[in-house]
């Protein structure tokens, strides 16, 4: 976290500059950040730590909490994986091909960012309910989507899609066509070029996008609760369980689940980050 020392200068907090306003803007920004973001999060950790490690462990390993964490993390991972495939495909089509309506489609990708989650939630529930446009297609075969974990999966795919597309797209755009030309010149077929030259270069961005989609999906609440059915042990997500605990005025229990969720997400992101660093090194070293 240190700035490289400037040539021939003393080791100071801020490099001297002709511009005014450093003290006041930094002071205001850090104060506001501390009050709005850091203080609440510190209180959360402090509140949970009052339970002690054993107390948190006890809350986290009750069957209902374990089941909710499993539903949250497993469906989020599955949704992120589906988005990895289709998000890359969408990014590819938007960058590489020209077709009528391409710009419109490009703009539409951000819809999950712009549409309030509650609206997405009731719209998806209406579509995938047994009498909905899509649900009705599956109902005759006895397949239920809404009000089962499959419904949660659908909502999380919706929420996560733009993260993957928007991280892969710029990398694909900046990919130098000389590399593809070189590969073709050396006798590679188009498939070989795509799968062994272009796609490997997208992996670091793809991993970032998938990690962002996953992290968002784990914490997602609004779009999920309407379609999930919210049956304990089956389709109850961890954020909903936090809300339930709060409504029972079990602040400690709610904080414990929240801290466990934050910790698992943090560790997952850490692992993904190191995998990403590894793959980048391997790609750049190749």
């Amino acid at each position: 976290m240190t700035v490289a020392p400037v040539m021939g200068q003393r080791f100071t907090f801020v490099r001297p500059s002709a511009l005014p306003g450093f003290g006041i803007t930094l002071g205001f920004a850090t104060t506001y950040l501390s009050l709005i973001v850091l203080l609440p999060l510190i209180v959360l950790v402090w509140r949970a730590s009052a339970l002690g490690f054993d107390g948190i462990w006890q809350v986290a390993t009750t069957p209902r909490v374990l089941a909710a964490l499993e539903v949250s993390f497993v469906t989020s991972a599955l949704a992120a994986l589906l988005n990895a495939v289709f998000g890359t495909l969408v990014a590819w089509v938007l960058v590489r091909y020209d077709f009528p309506g391409r710009r419109l489609l490009d703009a539409a990708v951000d819809l999950p960012f712009a549409l309030p989650t509650a609206v997405a939630g009731i719209a998806l529930a209406a579509l995938y309910a047994p009498n909905g446009w899509i649900g009705a297609l599956f109902a005759p075969w006895g397949i239920k989507i809404a009000f089962t974990p499959a419904g949660i999966f659908i909502a999380l795919v919706f929420i996560g899609l733009p993260f993957v597309v928007r991280t892969v797209q710029p990398v694909l755009q900046d990919f130098e066509c000389e590399v593809e030309e070189a590969s073709a010149t050396l006798g590679a077929t188009r498939m070989q070029t795509v799968f062994r030259v272009v796609l490997p270069a997208l992996v670091p961005a793809l991993v970032t996008g998938v990690a962002l989609a996953f992290a968002r999906a784990v914490g997602e609440y609004g779009s999920v609760i309407f379609i999930a059915g919210n049956i304990p042990f089956v389709s109850e997500i961890a954020p909903l369980l936090i809300v339930t605990r709060l409504e029972e005025f079990d602040y400690a229990g709610a904080s414990a689940i929240a801290v466990v969720m934050l910790t698992i997400s943090f560790v997952a992101l850490l692992i993904i980050n190191s995998v990403q660093a590894l793959s980048r090194r391997r790609y750049e070293g190749a």
Binding site: S17, V43, L44, F86, A114, V119, A126, Y251
Partner: protein, 280 residues
């Protein structure tokens, strides 16, 4: 066209385009269409009944108030943070940048929870607030706080990269020519970042008006008093008033479409005024 060494064959291209379009139609367009169809399928009468209902109107009003407080607060923060981070070199800068993005990696429900732990009846400041007869949780201030938390990074993260790309040369020139610090900011810096600022405000506003999870935890769902539009959608839906729920949803979906349109327009017309990552 046959498959060449540098591009896929035409049929394969059309197949991939078809799959991508089908996927986006299924997951994005269909839910959006469902909102408007469900809102209108009983005709205009029930729709207008919802829009003239007193509880719905007060939910719309509260949503506007929350956004009107939240966006300026985060705008001032975004400008201050971007000025310090982009125009100066100081220790701990990258830590500060990661802390600004922190709210994006916290579940909205957890952010709501933190404010209950701070200001709720059994929270840290609960007894104190009780003595002074101030209500934050289950009242408007709590809703504003939760919304400010959730939308915290939006404006800062548009301004910081752009101002970093622009450097400090123009500001130094203005100062050398005798302009005051404030005048330099108003006449040099602000015009340079105005499109990115607008972009951040658009995204911040859309999220502020649409936030559900964080607000739901701190609101208490008191009809006519602490219900924002997304919470009103939930209440109407849970009462099986589907037309009403989709009628309010249609307003929010309209807001989302306007936001998307304005955002795309900025990306097409003013790409040079946005951070590099937004130019596509």
């Amino acid at each position: 066209m046959r498959e060449t060494a540098l591009s896929e064959s035409r049929p394969l291209q059309w197949l991939l385009i078809a799959v991508a379009v089908a996927f986006l139609a299924l997951f994005l367009v269909l839910p959006l269409a469902a909102v408007f169809v469900e809102a209108l399928h009983r005709g205009v009468g029930p729709l207008l009944a919802t829009y003239t209902d007193a509880d719905t109107l007060s939910a719309i009003w509260l949503t506007l108030i929350v956004a009107a407080i939240t966006v300026p607060l985060n705008l001032v923060f975004g400008i201050a943070a971007a000025w310090a981070i982009a125009k100066f070199e100081f220790r701990g800068k990258s830590l500060l940048i990661s802390l600004i993005d922190l709210p994006f990696s916290v579940s909205p429900v957890v952010s709501g929870l933190t404010f209950v732990l701070l200001f709720g009846a059994k929270g840290v400041f609960g007894p104190l607030l009780d003595d002074w007869d101030i209500k934050i949780i289950f009242a408007v201030p709590g809703i504003v706080l939760a919304t400010v938390f959730v939308t915290f990074p939006f404006i800062a993260r548009e301004l910081i990269p752009l101002m970093q790309e622009q450097g400090t040369a123009e500001e130094e020139a203005a100062l050398t020519l005798g302009a005051s610090g404030l005048r330099t900011f108003m006449t040099v810096t602000l015009p340079n970042v105005r499109w990115a600022l607008l972009y951040g405000v658009l995204l911040c506003n859309a999220r502020a008006m649409g936030e559900f999870g964080a607000v739901s935890v701190v609101s208490g769902h008191i009809r006519g008093l602490t219900n924002t539009m997304p919470l009103q959608v939930e209440i109407l839906y849970n009462e099986y008033n589907f037309v009403g729920a989709f009628a309010v949803s249609a307003l929010l979906a309209g807001l989302a479409l306007v936001t998307l349109a304005a955002k795309s327009l900025l990306e097409w017309r003013h790409a040079e005024g946005l951070p590099t990552a937004r130019r596509h």
